[in-house]
Symmetry: C2
Subunit: 428 residues, 2 copies
C-alpha cells in the first residue's frame, strides 16, 4: 500500500482553502506593518548552520544529507531566523531597518504527534537594524493584530526581558549556571507553583533561594507596579531592561500584553525582550512568540546587527482555531457555479455561459463526464458548488440560465446573469 513519509501531510482542498485564508490574513497584517516578503532556499549547506543551532537540533532534529555528486552536505531548512542572518550577510546592500516577512516550510525530525509535524509552515516577521523598543513594540503589535484578526478573544501576550533575568538571577542572586533554573521557572504556567518549587529543589537550590525566586516570579500586577518593586534592585541590566519594557508597554498600550518574569523561551539567542502568546483554551501551548536577538544576525557578517521579531505558529493557530470553532472546513471548493447541461446538446451553450462567468472572475465548472442531469447535480453538491446553473433546451432557446441554490431559484437573461449570481452568492 502506498503511503507518505511519517509526519508529512497531504492537504485536500477544504484544508488548503482554510490554510490559504489564514495565510492571506497573516500576510495582510505583515504588509500593513510595512514588512516585505523574502524567500530563501529550502536547502542550505550544512556547513552554513553547523554548530549554530544547538545539540538537539543538530544531532536529532535536522534532516542532513549528502549530495551524491559533489559530496557537499545539505540540510533542509530548520527555521527561518538563521537563513535571515545569512541573507543579510549576503545582501549587504539591503537598507536598514530591514523589515522582512518570510512564510515557508521548515523540516524537523520530530516524533510526530497531534500538532507536531516533520514539515510545517513558519510565518516570521523580523526587523533587522533597530536596537530600540519601538521595533519590539511593532512586532508585538503584529502579534496582537494577528490574534485579533482571527477572533481569538482570550489571548494574552506575556512579556519579559532576558537582561532582567540575567540581572536578577545571575548578578543579584548569584546563580552561576542559570539555564536549568530558567527552564524550571519557564514551566510555571504548566506545572504551577509547587511544581516549580519541586524542580528547583531537585536542582539543588536551598530553601531561602527557592523562596526568593518564587516570590519574584509570582509577583502579579500591572507592569508599573511590578516595575517599582524591581527598580529597588540597583543593577544596570535590570534598569536597562525595565526602561526598555516600559517603552514597549507604553507604545503597544494593550491590556492583553502582560509582564511575566517566569517567561524565558527556550532559544539561547535572545538578548532582550522575549514574548509569547497563548490562549486559555484549548491548552495547546504557545501560538506565537518572539523576541530580540542582537547577536545572531552578525554571525555571518561578523558585525553585530540588532534585530527583533515575531513568529506566528500558523499550524497551531489553525489547530486551535478548528478546535475553538473559529475556523471550519465548510468551504470544500472555490466553485461558485456549476453549470448543469440538461441535455448533451446544451453543452455548447453551457460552455458559452462558462466563458462569460469565468471572464468575470467567477469560479465556474461544467460537465466534463457526459453525465445525466441528475448525476451532474449530485456531483455539484458533492464538491460543494455554491450555486447550480441549469441550461436546458428552453434556456438555450430563450438565452437564459436558471440559477438554483439552497434558498433561491430564478431564471434570468444572460444580460442579468452576473448581477443575479452576485445576489445568489451573497445569500449562499
Amino acid at each position: 500500500m502506498v503511503s507518505i513519509p511519517r509526519g508529512f501531510r497531504d492537504f485536500p482542498p477544504p484544508m488548503m482553502i482554510l490554510r490559504k485564508r489564514v495565510l492571506s490574513k497573516i500576510e495582510e497584517i505583515f504588509r500593513r506593518y510595512g514588512f516585505d516578503p523574502i524567500e530563501t532556499p529550502s536547502l542550505e549547506y550544512w556547513e552554513t548552520v553547523k554548530g549554530k543551532l544547538g545539540e538537539e537540533a543538530e544531532n536529532k532534529l535536522m534532516f542532513i544529507f549528502p549530495d551524491f555528486f559533489s559530496k557537499e552536505w545539505y540540510t533542509l531548512r530548520y527555521e527561518l531566523t538563521f537563513p535571515l542572518a545569512r541573507y543579510v550577510a549576503m545582501h549587504p546592500e539591503t537598507p536598514l531597518p530591514f523589515k522582512r516577512y518570510h512564510i515557508g516550510n521548515v523540516w524537523r525530525h520530530e516524533e510526530p504527534q497531534k500538532g507536531r509535524y516533520r514539515e510545517f509552515l513558519q510565518c516570521d516577521a523580523d526587523i533587522v537594524g533597530s536596537p530600540y523598543p519601538e521595533a519590539d513594540a511593532e512586532v508585538i503589535s503584529v502579534n496582537i493584530d494577528a490574534m485579533k484578526s482571527f477572533d481569538f478573544e482570550n489571548f494574552r501576550v506575556r512579556l519579559n526581558d532576558r537582561r532582567l533575568l540575567t540581572g536578577v538571577f545571575e548578578e543579584e542572586l548569584g546563580i552561576n549556571n542559570p539555564f536549568p533554573i530558567y527552564r524550571a521557572i519557564d514551566k510555571l504556567d504548566k506545572i504551577g507553583v509547587d511544581g516549580v518549587k519541586g524542580e528547583l529543589a531537585r536542582l539543588g537550590a536551598h530553601e531561602s533561594l527557592i523562596g526568593r525566586i518564587m516570590e519574584l516570579i509570582s509577583t502579579r500586577g500591572s507592569f508599573n507596579e511590578i516595575s517599582n518593586t524591581f527598580r529597588r534592585i540597583e543593577n544596570d541590566k535590570v534598569k536597562v531592561a525595565l526602561d526598555h519594557l516600559e517603552e514597549i508597554f507604553s507604545i503597544v498600550s494593550d491590556d492583553r500584553l502582560v509582564f511575566d518574569l517566569s517567561l524565558v523561551r527556550g532559544l539561547d539567542y535572545y538578548t532582550g525582550p522575549v514574548f509569547e502568546t497563548s490562549v486559555s483554551e484549548p491548552r495547546i501551548g504557545s501560538l506565537a512568540g518572539g523576541g530580540r536577538y542582537d547577536r545572531l544576525i552578525g554571525l555571518y557578517s561578523g558585525k553585530d546587527v540588532p534585530a527583533t521579531g515575531v513568529s506566528l505558529g500558523v499550524e497551531r493557530l489553525i489547530d486551535a482555531g478548528l478546535e475553538l470553532g473559529i475556523f471550519d472546513l465548510s468551504e470544500r471548493s472555490y466553485t461558485d457555479v456549476f453549470i448543469v447541461s440538461v441535455r448533451r446538446e446544451n453543452w455548447r451553450y453551457a460552455w458559452r455561459i462558462s466563458r462569460i462567468l469565468r471572464e468575470r472572475g467567477f469560479s465556474t465548472s461544467l460537465d466534463l463526464m457526459r453525465r445525466s442531469q441528475s448525476a451532474q447535480r449530485e456531483y455539484a453538491n458533492k464538491i460543494g458548488a455554491k450555486v447550480i446553473a441549469f441550461v436546458g433546451p428552453s434556456e438555450e432557446e430563450t438565452e437564459t440560465v436558471t440559477l438554483y441554490s439552497r434558498d433561491l431559484r430564478k431564471t434570468v437573461k444572460i444580460s442579468e446573469l452576473i448581477d443575479s449570481l452576485r445576489e445568489f452568492l451573497s445569500v449562499s
Copy 2:
C-alpha cells in the same frame, strides 16, 4: 565566505513582490476554471516513485537520501503529477472529475544555468476522471487565458496527439523503434527542416522515409485542411485522434491554438493530446505545456483513470516577461506610506497616525532608528515607499499630516487622511 547551494536562490523583496503577483494571477485563473488547491509533502518515500520517472531522473536528477534513524529513503519532490496520482490513490473518496491545482517547489539536480534552477516552482492544473476532449479543451483554455492575462501577445499553443503519431509513424510507416525519430522531429522548431533531415539520416532512415516524414510534419494550414489530408489514412488511432482534436479545436476556438504534427513532448506517459506554448521572442523554450495521460493515475490505485493537465512554467514566464518588459522589478516594497517624524517628540503622534493607516489596511512604516528627518526621508526613498507623510510640531498641533509624493504635496486633517492618501496612491 557564506554561500547558498548551487542552483538555489534567495528572493529579495522586489523579486518576491513580482513572483507573488504572477502567482496570484495564475491562481485566479485556475480558480475561475473551477480548480481547487491541494498540497503534498516535499518529501516522498523513494520507494513510491522508484522505477517510474525514467533513468535520467532517477540516476541523475533526483535528490535521494536516507533517513538517519529509520533507514527509509526519501526523495525531494521531482514534479507534481506523480504526487497527484499517489494522492488520488490515497484519497479514493475524492469526487471525479477531480480538478485540482498545485503550486509547489520541485527539486532537480540539473546543471544550473540561465533559467534552470535546482529548486523551482511548478504550477499545475489537472483534471482527473474525464476521458473527453471537453477536459482537454478546458486545460488548454487555462493555458491561453494565463498567457493573455500576462499580456504575452505573440504566443501560440501547438497541439498534437500521441495516437496520431503512433498511427502514422508506427502503424502506417512501420517504424518499430519510434522514440529516436520522435525526438528528432520534435526539434523541427529549433533546428529547422535540414537539421531534422540530418538527424533522421543519422538514425539510419532511408531517403524515401525521410521524404515522407518531412512531408507529413511540414504540412501547414488550418486544422481542418490538415485533418482532411490525414483522414485519407485509414487507421483507427488516426481517426480517434483526429476526432478528439477536432472537438478540442472547436471548443477552444482560438487562433493561437495550432496543429503541429512535429510536437512530441518528452514525457513518455502521454497517451492522447499533447500541447506546448511558446513565444516567438525571447527564444526561451516552451512557457507552458501539457497533455493527456490516461494510464498514469492508475499506477498507484491499480485502476486506470483518465487525466489531462497543464503545467505553467512560471520560472520561465517570469524570465521571459522580464526580458520582454512585460514585468519589471519597480515595486521594491509594498510600503504605501512612510511617516517621517520631523522631531523625536513627534514620534508618538506618528505612531498614532500609523495605527489609523494600518487599521485601514495601508502598508505603513515609521522611523525605528531615531534618525534625523533627512535620514528618514532618504530611507523612505531607498525602500521605495510610495508616499511620505510628514508629522512635525505644526502637524501635531493642528492634528494634520503633510502628504508628499513625486507629484503632489498636501497638508490634510486626520479625518481627510484616508481619502487623500487614496488619491496620492492612485497617481503615484
